[in-house]
């Protein structure tokens, strides 16, 4: 049981992750914040015999409610009320970083300010009076260089000593007009507040004037809450008129005014050529160039892609071989019966089908970690933003879409970097249409057997078809479900820097373990269900016509007749394809030719050229594999969206196959 709970807050790129890692070392766990799929990191450390639990808040600029991250942070601060709040401030960007600290002080949080990146300040020869800063704000201020662990011992000491502090909430004078409104509103709140909201009345009043939707929701639950809200809205409207502008922006600027006064008192910067172009800027003039930006992005993506699959696939093959060997040994050991079949085909095969993705996923997260850590990831979003905005998506959506060509599972997990839930869900939903590498064996088999001369062109057009479907789906879903809520790009582009091995490896491991836990259970369950269907009733040959899955195949077969492949083996193969799309080839082999060898000679007895084409289209578009469904479920945290992804892809796949076959027959 932790004795003290502290939380870490700070702007993105202030060095929060480094401080968190240095404080807690390896004692970390990653989960999700309740109800949302934003990563929640927690850790622990012991100092002077006391156990200290550290909660890492998402990186934010403020406590407003513009993004999910900000909502999570203020939710935690106000409702859970941590013993100590440590805010990490990038000392080399003092003005903008102090904003969050000031908001926290207004909230009355028991604050410790970690003035990080002091090495940069020293390098620039700024004179920073830490003591004066601390005295003026009334809270401890600790200078650190987190990446060199400098000052962290003092930080630990200060955190422990600060636990019983109860600082007075900071009061900034917002000028006569706002102050009048504030005191009227504060009185009203004072009279109806209960103990559920651990925040000063003045702060709540201020947030209401700032039109903070989240605080409004909370206040609404108070007795007379509605009355308070309507009063605050009247006051805000009156203020907008009197000030001649938005009270929200007015208040923010007043805070910055307070900060710049503070910084002028405590920090002296030598005069010099301030506006010089840094190396980082020079790189950006190339990387973000109007013409070169996109080609450079594509090269980076291609390189990532190559590494993930060239390095990952052989490893995946080893795991695959290992598990089939294990399955074979089990059958040999126990003889051929239902139990050994459950063990080898169901459980061992199921675990194998989860772990087989692990090498690709690890390498992918490694690459993403490197690109994120060195600062390129935000540039990629920048470069692609214009094109993606047209599809109703965000610049950051482009990365998962390209990764989808390799494997949809890590691609969908990469959607976590998207902040707005709308962008994230939409990017996830269209991802299965990006033709993953598991579908390639199907194309190779059919295109080779039926269109040997044009096989390259056929396969290429399938990839294009997938992309077109993804784009059309994005446009359609955007209209249907999201009513065009656009999230404009506004993001900080951190300076380029060398990534640290420790950060990347930890990040990679945390993300991969979440995959194994969440997606793993669903994949395993799905695999076992398919196994059960293929081996029931008892005594039947695995996946034969008499098995349940064969029976189901027979039921579904007529459905595929309009697409040109209305026989039960094709239906069964497609059903097995749900486990993993590459299984389609193996299943067809077993059912049509008694093995994969010689399959391409047998195929023309069942398919004509047109039917082969529509079968490939179906394989491309219909239902994502179980693993993908599992990841969609765990990443969207919703069966509704998962159901939509499955249903929509089935419909699109079937319709496209049928339309293609019917039109083809018309013209042939």
């Amino acid at each position: 049981m932790a004795e003290i709970t502290i939380c870490l807050g700070g702007n993105p790129n202030a060095g929060k992750t480094t401080v968190f890692n240095k404080l807690t070392g390896a004692h970390q766990k990653v989960g999700n914040w309740p109800g949302v799929t934003v990563e929640k990191k927690e850790g622990e450390y012991t100092y002077l015999g006391k156990t200290i639990r550290v909660v890492d808040l998402p990186g934010t600029y403020s406590l407003t409610s513009y993004s999910l991250d900000e909502r999570i942070a203020s939710d935690f601060l106000v409702k859970e009320h941590p013993d100590v709040t440590v805010v990490i401030v990038d000392a080399s960007n003092l003005e903008s970083n102090l904003y969050l600290a000031i908001e926290l002080l207004e909230l009355g949080a028991n604050l410790v300010i970690d003035l990080n990146m002091m090495d940069v300040v020293r390098h620039k020869k700024w004179q920073l009076d830490v003591e004066k800063l601390s005295k003026t704000l009334g809270v401890p201020v600790i200078p650190t260089v987190a990446k060199k662990a400098e000052g962290l011992e003092t930080l630990r000491q200060t955190i422990l000593a600060a636990r019983d502090h109860q600082p007075e909430p900071l009061k900034i004078n917002y000028g006569l007009e706002v102050e009048e409104a504030l005191s009227a509103l504060t009185d009203l709140i004072k009279r109806s507040k209960d103990s559920s909201l651990y925040a000063p009345n003045r702060w709540l009043a201020l947030k209401l004037l700032e039109n903070n939707t989240q605080i409004k929701e909370w206040v609404r639950t108070l007795p007379k809450g509605e009355q308070i809200i309507s009063k605050s809205e009247d006051l805000a409207t009156a203020l907008n008129d009197r000030l001649g502008r938005d009270v929200e922006a007015f208040v923010i600027e007043k805070r910055f005014g307070f900060i710049s006064g503070l910084v002028r008192k405590c920090c002296r910067k030598p005069l010099g050529p301030e506006e010089r172009i840094s190396i980082s800027d020079k790189i950006d003039q190339l990387v973000l160039n109007r013409w070169l930006g996109i080609p450079i992005f594509l090269v980076f993506m291609w390189f990532t892609f190559k590494l993930v699959f060239d390095l990952g696939n052989p490893l995946a093959d080893y795991i695959d071989t290992g598990f089939s060997w294990l399955g074979g040994q089990t059958t040999a050991l126990l003889g051929k019966n239902w139990f050994s079949s459950l063990l080898s085909e169901g459980i061992i095969g199921g675990v194998g089908s989860v772990l087989v993705f692990l090498p690709n996923i690890l390498i992918l997260f490694l690459m993403i970690g490197i690109l994120e850590d060195c600062g390129y990831m935000s540039r990629a979003a920048f470069v692609m933003d214009r094109f993606m905005q047209r599809l109703g998506l965000h610049g950051k959506s482009s990365i998962p879409m390209i990764l989808g060509f390799g494997c949809n599972i890590p691609a969908i997990m990469a959607c976590r970097t998207l902040e707005s839930p709308k962008d994230r869900i939409l990017t996830i939903l269209i991802n299965p249409f990006m033709s993953c590498s598991a579908r390639l064996p199907i194309y190779v088999l059919f295109a080779g057997a039926f269109f040997p001369r044009q096989s390259g062109a056929v396969i290429f057009s399938l990839y294009i078809l997938g992309m077109v479907m993804a784009i059309l789906t994005a446009l359609l879903f955007n209209k249907l479900f999201f009513k065009g809520e656009s999230s404009p790009l506004i993001m900080e582009l951190p300076p380029y820097r060398l990534p640290t091995v420790k950060n990347i490896v930890m990040h990679m491991w945390h993300r991969a373990s979440v995959f194994i836990k969440n997606a793993g259970t669903i994949i395993l369950a799905g695999v076992i269900i398919i196994w059960l269907l293929a081996s029931m009733p008892v005594g039947v040959e695995y996946a034969s016509e008499q098995s349940w899955i064969g029976q189901i195949g027979k039921i579904f077969a007529p459905l595929f007749a309009p697409a040109g492949f209305g026989f039960w083996q094709a239906a069964v193969a497609l059903m097995f394809g749900i486990v993993a799309k590459e299984v389609v080839v193996g299943t067809l082999g077993t059912l049509l030719a008694g093995g994969e060898e010689g399959l391409s000679e047998v195929l023309p007895q069942f398919f004509n050229g047109l039917a082969a084409l529509s079968f490939m289209v179906m394989s491309l578009l219909y239902i994502p594999c179980i693993a993908t469904i599992g990841v969609i479920r765990s990443e969207t945290n919703s069966w509704k969206w998962t159901g939509l992804a499955v249903g929509w892809s089935l419909l699109v796949g079937w319709l496209s196959a049928v339309v293609l076959y019917q039109l083809g027959q018309l013209f042939a």
Partner: protein, 76 residues
């Protein structure tokens, strides 16, 4: 006065007005971009997003947003 997206690379400008919804002005303001802030254009990707410097920080701002931020050139 002209929109931010019309500023050439290397120019220093002062923000005069932000003509967007409440949310937009607020989002920019908490990052330090509001009337009176000085920005330097690093890379104008028109008709794509622009990259600007605010003191030591660098921001990418989408085109749609950049043409609603009105600025005037600062001569030094």
């Amino acid at each position: 006065m002209c929109p931010l997206c019309a500023v050439e690379n290397g120019r220093i400008v002062e923000v005069m007005d932000i003509r967007g919804g409440r949310g937009m002005a607020g989002r920019l303001a908490v990052m330090g971009i509001f009337p009176g802030s000085r920005l330097r254009m690093i890379q104008n990707g028109r008709p794509g997003p622009v990259m600007v410097a605010l003191d030591e920080k660098r921001f990418g701002i989408g085109y749609g947003m950049a043409h609603r931020i009105f600025v005037r050139p600062v001569t030094e």
